[in-house]
């Protein structure tokens, strides 16, 4: 998978690049509008991450450019601007998602994977992890060909964990993924623990190994080892 990151903040760009390289993605970086347009017109990408405020131009123009040359490319806007207008304009121009800075890299990763799944495989691709198999279109989860019934939150949690497999996920990032802005309603993260516990139990009841590791004081990790 090939990504293009259009972002003028070098430190942030490096973090994002590192994160996706571990995912075995090729992540190219354009620090300004001019370079971005050059790259867009030469190479093909599966997904482009666009910051709206660039030193020499508006990220929305890059989105327009991209939509004209390669309409099938996935686009995620990452912006510090949380204004409703920009969000609506961005989505109307055909971007797939809009993420406000600051965001969790794990969240960005999950969204990139969802966009690529939708764009590249028309959503038909199955998500596989060890004994677990997920059909994203049907919201169907199977372990060893047996169906598991999950609640909406448990399903979201599982997809999120698999998207960020082999990584340490903080409790805040999980809470924010599941509850968005309401995440700060939880005075402690016991609430996540309840969902994690239920999910783990349902998976293991159908014969899945215990993939979920708790990392003391930090969060969780979903991995095969």
């Amino acid at each position: 998978m090939k990504l293009l990151l259009i972002e003028d903040e070098k430190a942030l760009a490096t973090s994002i690049q590192n994160y996706f390289q571990r995912e075995n993605f090729i992540c190219e970086w354009a620090a300004d509008y001019r370079t971005a347009v050059e790259k867009i017109n030469i190479y093909r990408y599966d997904c482009v991450l666009v910051d709206l405020m660039l030193p020499d131009g508006d990220g929305l123009d890059a989105v327009r450019e991209l939509k004209r040359s390669f309409p099938e490319t996935g686009i995620i806007i990452i912006s510090a601007k949380n204004s409703l207008d920009d969000r609506i304009t961005g989505l109307n121009l055909g971007s797939d998602d809009y993420l406000t800075k600051p965001f969790h890299l794990s969240e960005l990763n999950a969204r990139v994977q969802a966009v690529i799944r939708r764009r590249t495989f028309q959503g038909s691709q199955q998500i596989r992890f060890g004994k677990i198999q997920i059909d994203p279109q049907e919201h169907l989860v199977m372990v060893d060909q047996q169906e598991i019934v999950l609640t909406r939150k448990e399903y979201d949690l599982l997809v999120y964990l698999i998207a960020n497999k082999n990584r340490v996920l903080t409790k805040e990032s999980i809470a924010e993924h599941l509850w968005g802005d309401d995440a700060d309603l939880m005075d402690n993260f016991d609430f996540i623990y309840t969902h994690i516990k239920n999910l783990r139990k349902k998976l293991m009841d159908k014969g899945s190994p215990d993939y979920l590791k708790s990392i003391y004081g930090v969060g969780y990790k979903f991995s095969e080892q």
Binding site: E9, N82, G217, G219
Partner: protein, 417 residues
């Protein structure tokens, strides 16, 4: 009171004073003139009577004016000529009336006669009546013309002023409007309009600057925060870190996340205060927002075993949809956060009113103080302390009112519009 009405008031008082004074002066001067005239007439009558007496010893009836009378008395010695005023009984009118008498002496064929010519002074009464009547008439005429003039002035001359006033009244800074007016012939109005134009021009520029500043501040603060958070997340993946380091890192992460949320909430608050969310003209229904929010919060409500009762009708205030969303969200999350486990939330929505009641621990300060920024009761560390401040600001800019009351264990938040 309108300026013109105030001016009119002073005009009326002044004209009444002047006219009263004028009437008094008028009365006295006319009275004096008439007095002089009466005396002259008496003297003329005297001359006539003297002539008649000297040349013809008989007095014709018509020698004097009607109402005047002549009296001849035989006296032994002549006296001084005198002019006196006295009241005499008038037989025709059957009452005492003022008369002026000229008394003089004349010798006819060796005998002295005292001649008394009496003249009725009834005109004085009539004069007073005439003066009062005239003045009253002038006053009435003046008042009517002043009123007519003023209403005409306010329609004609003051029209540009009222136009400016209306424009200012409906002025909205959010629209970046600069008020301009056609040129006026009246210097004051022209000055006023120019000042208003300059003023709104400056206002629009300042407002624009402020808006840009909030936007830039958002960008400038969010970007370093994004860097911090992304670096922390990168570090978490480093397997060589010790547990104590991971815990410290996790705490840094929590604090940075909190800072990011705080920044976003403050920016939202500033944007609302800057009125960057203009309400439409149609009321929006709060029902779908409430239902959606309750669905989102389902987990939390269940986990804390809170009972939610709703009585909602499809109605709502005139408000920007995004703000309505924030308002409902903040009221509901507040009702959950400060609820007790196993408590209740009552949501009532009907025409002109949204009431969210929840059970909770009693608060020990004036409930209205809970609308202040960063005001928190108890130790809810996850709360930013901005939720109710945001809700209050949203209501304020939209012209709704938000009140907080407590009633035993109930906390009642009411939005009225």
């Amino acid at each position: 009171m309108k300026l013109l009405e105030r001016i009119l008031k002073y005009q009326i008082v002044t004209s009444l004073c002047v006219l009263t004074l004028g009437a008094v002066l008028f009365y006295f001067s006319v009275d004096y003139l008439i007095d002089q005239e009466v005396n002259k007439e008496l003297m003329r009558s005297k001359a006539k009577v003297s002539w008649q007496l000297r040349h013809i010893d008989e007095l014709p009836v018509y020698i004097l004016q009607l109402g005047d009378s002549l009296q001849l008395d035989q006296v032994r010695y002549p006296g001084q000529m005198a002019l006196v005023e006295r009241k005499l009984f008038n037989e025709f009118e059957s009452e005492y009336q003022p008369y002026r008498q000229l008394i003089f002496y004349e010798r006819v064929e060796g005998t002295w006669y005292r001649v008394t010519i009496s003249k009725l002074l009834a005109q004085r009464q009539q004069l007073l009546e005439a003066v009062v009547m005239t003045v009253t008439f002038i006053v009435a005429l003046l008042l009517i013309s002043l009123l007519l003039l003023n209403s005409w002035l306010s329609r004609r001359l003051w029209r540009p002023f009222y136009k400016t006033l209306r424009a200012l009244d409906s002025y909205e800074v959010e629209k970046h409007e600069v008020l301009t007016f056609p040129k006026q012939h009246t210097v004051e109005f022209e000055q006023l309009n120019q000042s208003v134009t300059q003023f709104t021009d400056r206002l629009a520029a300042t407002y624009q600057n402020l808006k840009e500043f909030t936007g830039n501040a958002s960008h400038e603060i969010q970007t370093p925060l994004a860097v911090i958070l992304s670096k922390i997340e990168g570090l978490f993946q480093d397997e060589s870190l010790k547990e104590s380091q991971l815990v410290a890192l996790s705490e840094i992460s929590e604090a940075a996340n909190r800072l990011a949320k705080l920044n976003q909430a403050l920016l939202l608050l500033t944007k609302i205060e800057n009125r960057q969310f203009l309400a439409g003209t149609e009321p929006i229904s709060l029902v779908p927002i409430i239902n959606r929010k309750l669905r989102d919060l389902e987990d939390l409500i269940e986990q804390r075993e809170i009972t939610v009762k709703t009585a909602i009708e499809p109605t709502g205030p005139v408000m920007h949809p995004a703000l309505a969303e924030v308002l409902v969200n903040n009221l509901l999350t507040n009702a959950i956060r400060y609820n007790i486990n196993g408590g209740t939330i009552d949501i009532t929505l009907n025409a002109g009113k949204l009431v969210v009641r929840n059970t909770g621990a009693p608060i020990h300060v004036d409930p209205e103080l809970m609308f202040e920024r960063f005001r928190k009761e108890g130790t809810h560390s996850a709360s930013l302390g901005l939720g109710l401040a945001l809700a209050k600001t949203i209501c304020q800019v939209n012209g709704q009112s938000l009140t907080y009351e407590t009633e035993g264990q109930w906390h009642i938040l009411t939005v009225t519009w």
